[in-house]
């Protein structure tokens, strides 16, 4: 299988879907002439022209609302947020408009759009540019939320998101744009709501998504050396959640550590932990451990930033606590 970059996988997904369906278009800041702030849309203007690859002014609420209105008419906008830190500006449009369109119109109108872009902390960017804000969307009925952890998943998931008839929020780890992975040349789609076991194991279930999957896999390797066989489960879609996959793993391993890059309270992770403690109570041999960002705005200095973000060390320690070892 060819190895490509995460950003290339996303690019392929968009290009293929735009070739398939003339109703799909891409809109956002610097997506066209600049080829994307992170080069995700590289070459797309050349291929599809300015009608379908559209540079916008810096008005996130305005052009996202425009996308929602276009979706209401049956077009399939992909609206790019340069980063999701700026997407806080579109929450009213997404929560009060996109998410409620189908319900409030009694099924007359729907909103087949994708809101996508970079999330997470890319390093040295400080408090306003280093946030993992998936909880703001995953909390909201009417939205769907996807966060891929590999180029393979990114491509298949984004294709599903574009084809879906509901508003999908698709958050890509900014740090991962330059990471490589195998991606099949033939067409494939990864259905919304389908999780994936990223590593089989028996002693403990690590639940995570996006970039943190890799931290978990590293932790699992480290633990393997010490004789512990850890399973790593990636829900991939955070709403709707592949609960059965998660529960089955937990019922097998009886121990759980949840790892997320976002803040700990009222987070996606705590949402998942809540479901697991409820549905797997009798199987749990230890409290569910939670590794998240420290509960603070992000500092700029690298020594501080390093402390804030979950890392292999913290994940390993949490696993050991959950396994009652050390």
């Amino acid at each position: 299988m060819p190895e490509i970059l995460f950003r290339e996988a996303l690019n392929q997904a968009m290009v293929e879907e735009m070739e398939r369906d003339p109703d799909v278009f891409l809109m956002g800041e610097e997506v066209a002439e600049y080829n994307g702030a992170y080069k995700v849309s590289k070459g797309m203007l050349e291929k599809f022209g300015p009608k379908r690859v559209v540079d916008t002014p810096i008005v996130e609420a305005g052009f996202t609302g425009l996308g929602i209105g276009a979706a209401m008419m049956g077009l399939r906008p992909i609206v790019e947020m340069m980063t999701f830190n700026f997407a806080i500006l579109v929450l009213d449009q997404m929560i009060n408009h996109a998410a409620k369109m189908y319900y409030m119109t009694n099924g007359q109108y729907s909103c087949p759009m994708v809101l996508r872009g970079a999330g997470g902390a890319p390093g040295w960017l400080g408090a306003q540019h280093s946030q993992s804000l998936e909880a703001q969307y995953a909390h909201i009925p009417g939205l769907k939320v996807m966060m891929p952890s590999t180029p393979h998943d990114a491509k298949g998931m984004l294709k599903a998101a574009i084809r879906d008839d509901d508003p999908v929020v698709f958050i890509e780890s900014e740090l991962m744009y330059g990471w490589k992975g195998e991606v099949p040349s033939e067409e494939y789609v990864i259905p919304i709501g389908e999780g994936d076991i990223k590593r089989q194991g028996t002693d403990l279930t690590l639940i995570s998504w996006s970039r943190m999957i890799h931290t978990c896999l590293e932790a699992a390797d480290a633990l393997a050396e010490q004789g512990y066989n850890v399973e790593v489960v990636d829900p991939r879609t955070l709403r709707p959640l592949d609960e059965e996959l998660l529960f089955a793993s937990v019922r097998k391993t009886n121990r759980v550590v949840l790892v997320e890059e976002g803040w700990p309270f009222a987070s996606v992770g705590s949402g998942i932990i809540n479901r697991v403690q409820r549905e797997c109570f009798d199987w749990l041999d230890a409290p569910i451990e939670h590794v998240a960002s420290l509960d603070t705005p992000m500092p700029y200095a690298p020594n501080l930033e390093k402390q804030v973000l979950p890392d292999v060390e913290r994940v390993v320690a949490a696993c050991k606590r959950a396994m009652y070892v050390d």
Binding site: G69, T105, Y109
Partner: protein, 328 residues
Amino acid sequence: MSDTLNTTDLTNEQLVEAYRRMLLIRRVEENAGRAYQMQKFSGFCHLYIGQEAVAVATSTAMRDDDYMMTAYREHGQAMSRGVSADSVMAELLGRKTGSTGGRGGSMHIFDKERNFLGGWGIVGGQIPLATGVAWAIKYREEPKVIVVFFGEGSLHQGVFHESLNLASLWDLPIVYLCENNKYAMGTEMSRISAVSDLRKKAVSYDMEAAQIDGQDFFAAYNGIKEAIDRARNESRPTFLDVRTYRFRGHSMSDPATYRTKDELTEEQERDPLGFLYNALVELGAATEEELEGYDKECKKEAKAALKKAEDAPFPDDDSVLDYIYVNP
């Protein structure tokens, strides 16, 4: 009046039809107000009484396959597009037979068949959406237009400005129609706007703008028609400051003590229904008897709509989780 006395391209028949529609809106809203007071429903109920000419002039100037989008004071606007009294009243009462099946409610009437795109409750929130509808029209190269309504209290919201810039920049076929009824809840316009001539808002976007008397049906029709034609023929947006007035409070719970009785009386003397009534008689388009007859019909229709709504069932209990996702 007589200087605008049918300066439009409308026939007498069309004018009579417009009058009947305005009348029906008035009567249905009056019934809605009464039904609210009798606690047949609750929540917010924003009546359109006093503003009927604006919606009906707009709908008269629109084609069937054009789009209308608006905010929460939308019962009359919906009916101007042909949404029935029955389905509006049933919606207010939260019934299954309502325009959104009792699921949307008083602020959220939608009717896909009539291209009526709601019915939105976040002040200003619908403006970028409507801009997106215009985008879609242009993307598909259709000869259509969208008219989006909002109150004069809404145009300080950021999304209004973001939208107008986009629409002008990208030449979108849209009419931004500000229904300027002087008040946003209890706030008179001069207390929240740094300018009193709202056409100045369009200057920032090199957009055509006009101020229109919304109580004079002919002036309203002509001004709005011009903007719609511009959108359709030139794919250029227009901003309209349409001067009107609401005769009732902001919503049913508002006693409207922020304005004087005199002001209200003065405005009621410019009742758009009275204006068109007189014009029709003067034009010989209808006799007073005919017009009174229409009124009786509308009253009956409005009353019947309420009765039908009351008799209609609520949505099925087990439908509560329907329509959250198209692809659940």
